[in-house]
């Protein structure tokens, strides 16, 4: 059973589906919902997503049926058909995705029949029923992928040996999805593997259409995108593996070794790439050593974010920065099985660097539960995790202030900086994260 949530760190199902479509080049959403649904979802992305504003088909330009009382009473199917037809006439895109809101799902518009009429005419229109009451962004992402997999991706194409599909990195929920995926693409390409990442500005709908050619899907999350990958296997026969987001040298090397092994990449080639990337990282980290050691920049880490980030960041600060992860709060809404998967992932961190993990959606409850843990430490001076550093979202700044801790925001929502091509994935992403947190420590100078 659900409960109320304080300042939810996600959008609704419609929002998750909308931002995913918006992130696919030359795809456009047709929102069949009340007038404010697209704007609320879009507003969340525009601010919380590090100022990911409109591009061309989105924001205020998102086609939307804007249904009001009349349609709620008499049905909105006719209005939807009119809207789809006009959108096809006016808007230039390769893929038109009808997504629905609470009202249309509750009144029971037969949107599939309406869309099928256009599909029969060969129009590239798909439909997903994404009423907000069905869940959050993750649920919407999975619904949209269900629609893409069943209604858009071509079936029966010949396989390509070294092509992979990437799932589990949600636009906006991962504020750095573009930078992360582009770096992943670059690294995989360096070892000879082509990756369909789908949601960067440099992907196209052709790669989406032909995604069934992939030899493997990689889900970079224990909880997000799992359904999409499983369905992809069922419908298109592409098996999948689950990995965590590889932030920094240690995690990235482990990740690339696993992938190279699966694809029989020669160890000479792999080692050459690893060596070059590692060198890039340490050639920049090395000169920071005076600062890092003289100023005692080891910190107790408090990491707050979704399952992907809470683990990947904890792992990076443990493995590469040599910090002590103390506490990790997972803000996703997860069922028991999903929680178990996340805990199993955290269990792979060596015990001396393994944080306490909690599942908590509400910002103020995270604070309460952290302070309860601190109380239990029974520290005579009341500062068991000083010096501390909080890596979370903008919502967690007050907590950092209360702890007299450093702070850096990497999780949704991020409203105090602009995100373009930054990312934390790989060696270079790790270097960026190291640079940013150390910068936060010297920012008062």
């Amino acid at each position: 059973m659900s409960t109320f949530i304080e300042r939810p760190r996600y959008q609704c199902a419609l929002g998750g589906a909308l931002v995913t479509i918006n992130a696919i080049e030359r795809a456009v959403a047709i929102v069949h919902a009340s007038p404010g649904c697209a704007a609320a979802a879009d507003g969340a992305a525009a601010f919380g997503g590090g100022y990911w504003g409109s591009t061309v088909h989105d924001g205020r330009a998102t086609p939307s049926s804007n249904i009001v009382e009349r349609e709620v009473i008499f049905g909105g199917e006719e209005r939807l058909a009119e809207q789809i037809s006009a959108t096809l006439d006016v808007v230039d895109a390769d893929l038109y995705a009808v997504i629905t809101g609470c009202m249309t799902d509750i009144i029971g518009d037969d949107v599939r029949s309406v869309v099928n009429e256009f599909r029969r005419q060969g129009k590239p229109v798909i439909v997903a029923e994404t009423g907000g009451f069905k869940g959050n962004s993750t649920v919407g992402y999975e619904f949209l992928w269900d629609a893409l997999i069943n209604q858009f991706v071509s079936k029966g194409l010949p396989k390509k040996d070294r092509l992979v599909n990437i799932f589990g990195v949600l636009p906006v929920q991962d504020v750095f999805w573009r930078g992360n995926l582009l770096e992943l693409k670059r690294l995989l390409s360096a070892i000879g593997i082509e990756a369909n990442t789908f949601v960067t500005p440099f992907d196209d709908t052709a790669s989406l259409k032909n995604a069934s050619q992939a030899a493997l899907s990689i889900v970079l999350s224990d909880v997000h995108g799992q359904k999409a990958a499983a369905l992809f296997e069922e419908v298109h026969g592409v098996p999948y593996i689950t990995e965590s987001l590889p932030f920094g040298p240690t995690a990235t090397e482990r990740f690339l070794r696993r992938i190279a092994e699966l694809f029989n990449i020669s160890s000479a080639k792999l080692n050459r790439v690893l060596k070059e990337e590692r060198r890039h990282y340490y050639q920049f980290i090395n000169p920071l050593t005076d600062l890092f050691t003289d100023q005692d920049f080891q910190r107790f880490g408090v990491v707050i974010g979704n399952a992907n980030y809470a683990y990947a960041v904890s792992r990076f600060i443990a493995d590469d920065l040599g910090w002590i992860p103390y506490f990790a709060a997972i803000t996703d809404i997860l069922d028991e099985q999903q929680q178990a998967a996340v805990l199993a992932r955290f269990a792979t961190i060596p015990e001396q660097a393994r944080p306490k993990v909690i599942f908590e959606t509400d910002t103020s409850r995270i604070r309460e539960r952290l302070f309860a843990e601190l109380e239990k430490e029974n520290d005579p001076y009341g500062t068991p995790i000083s010096p501390a550093f909080v890596i979370g979202s903008n919502l967690d700044r007050p907590l950092a202030a209360d702890l007299k801790a450093g702070f850096w925001g990497v999780s949704y929502p991020i409203t105090n900086r602009v995100v373009t091509d930054q990312g934390y994935l790989g060696y270079r992403g790790g270097l960026r994260l190291a640079t940013e947190v150390v910068s936060a420590l010297v920012s008062n100078r």
């Binding site: 949530i5 300042r7 009340s34 919380g48």
Partner: protein, 509 residues
Amino acid sequence: MGLKEDRVVPGREDRVAACMAYGGSACSIGGESKACLKNSERGFSQAGICQLLPTLGMLLTLPDIAVIIHGAIGCGSAGFGMNVSIRLHHLLRGNPNAKDSLWFSTNLDEADVVHGGEQRLEETILTVNERYKPKSIVVVQTCTPSIIGDDLVGVVEKVRPLVEANILYAHCEGFKTKVWATGYDVAFHAMIHGYIEKDKEGPPPRKAPWQPGQRPTVNVINLASVGKPDEEEIERLLNAIGIDVTIGPNFADREKVRQLTQADLTVSICPTHDDYLVDYLHTEYGIPFVLKDMPIGLENTRNWLLDIAGKFGLEKEALALIEAEEARARTAVERFLPVLKGIRVFLSAGEFRALVTGGLFQELGMEIVGVRSYHHDEFGTDFYGRLVNGQQGKDFPVDIANFQPFELVNLLQQVKPDLFAGHIWDNAWAARLGYPTITIFRIFDYYVGYRGFYEVAKKAARILRNHSFNANLSRNVTDAYRPEWYEQNAFKYIKSGLPEGLQSDTAAV
């Protein structure tokens, strides 16, 4: 009916016959039938906003308030953006350590849609009251609980005696009205009922009417698009002619909202924003009002000030101030006039804001070549004519559109203005076409009064001096629309509100 009696705030299409879809010109709009305007709509539409968003934007400004959004998990997700705006407002008010806004979603899911969400709402109010101890709680009704029949008021009245906090409520279901400006009314309704009509102490008593010789106090109704600098300019001008000012109800606490009932006059700086509240203060507290102009541009500021001064016999003081201020402002903008002369401007914003800003540009020697207004109501009608008169009868296209950038870009490519002045979220569409843009409001800058006149001139001259960001952008972005769209009438998808069969005949007349 009015704010006091309305259990639920009526949509503005019904209350003031507001129109959301019209394509025509400044000369034609005044002659259209109201019924026709209010019923017209689009066969192709792009995302609007709903009344929840302005309601939420206003209620979140109230200090120490917890907002409970009763609905599915996404309805409040724009709260992060509103929090940014409110933080910045606080910063300008010298309050850098203001707490982040606090809101909750009752997170209705599929089971709740079947079984109802009243119990969840009740638990949420009680838990939020106990755990967070806010001074006020406002409960906001969204589409889903409304359609499944949750009795929001019933739940609120049940728990009201059990909680310390003032409880406000707001019905702002997105599907209930096309006119999202209704959300302003809903927020006023919530504040007045929560802090006055249903307050534990009851409504404050009526104040005795103003007597000549007393120093008057006036309410100035603030709005999200008017920042601290503009509030300061308004206060400065009114203080200078001997009038004290209470600014609210945004950012006002309970006491300040109640204080609004004790003024000698209510002054609107945006009639289309304020009329519902102004009417309440007039009807229930006998407070006279000024609800006609927005003090943007010299003439509008003059009319606005003289109207207010006239209520208190301060015309002489006002005229002296106006003469001195106008002379100073005119001298100040002289250096920008050569650059601005003859510049053709396209405006896009809420109707009133767009039109009065047009007046300001005309005073700087510029010409209005198009207006996109978010909605149309009677407050704006005369101002279209005034703009036409202000440029020797030269007409210009008017698009009444709750955004609809597809119409905007089509119009822009026909009109090809020298400058675009738009509300936030409007400017990017013009920028991508390469037009120089200035934002029609920003809470950091002056727009109203004499300082505003100078600052807008300076801003326009600055952007005209170098708009390479937009120019380069236009050469490097793709277009969302098919090329054929630009060859069609920008208003092609607007359907007249008249019954079918009457449409063509009436158009010919």
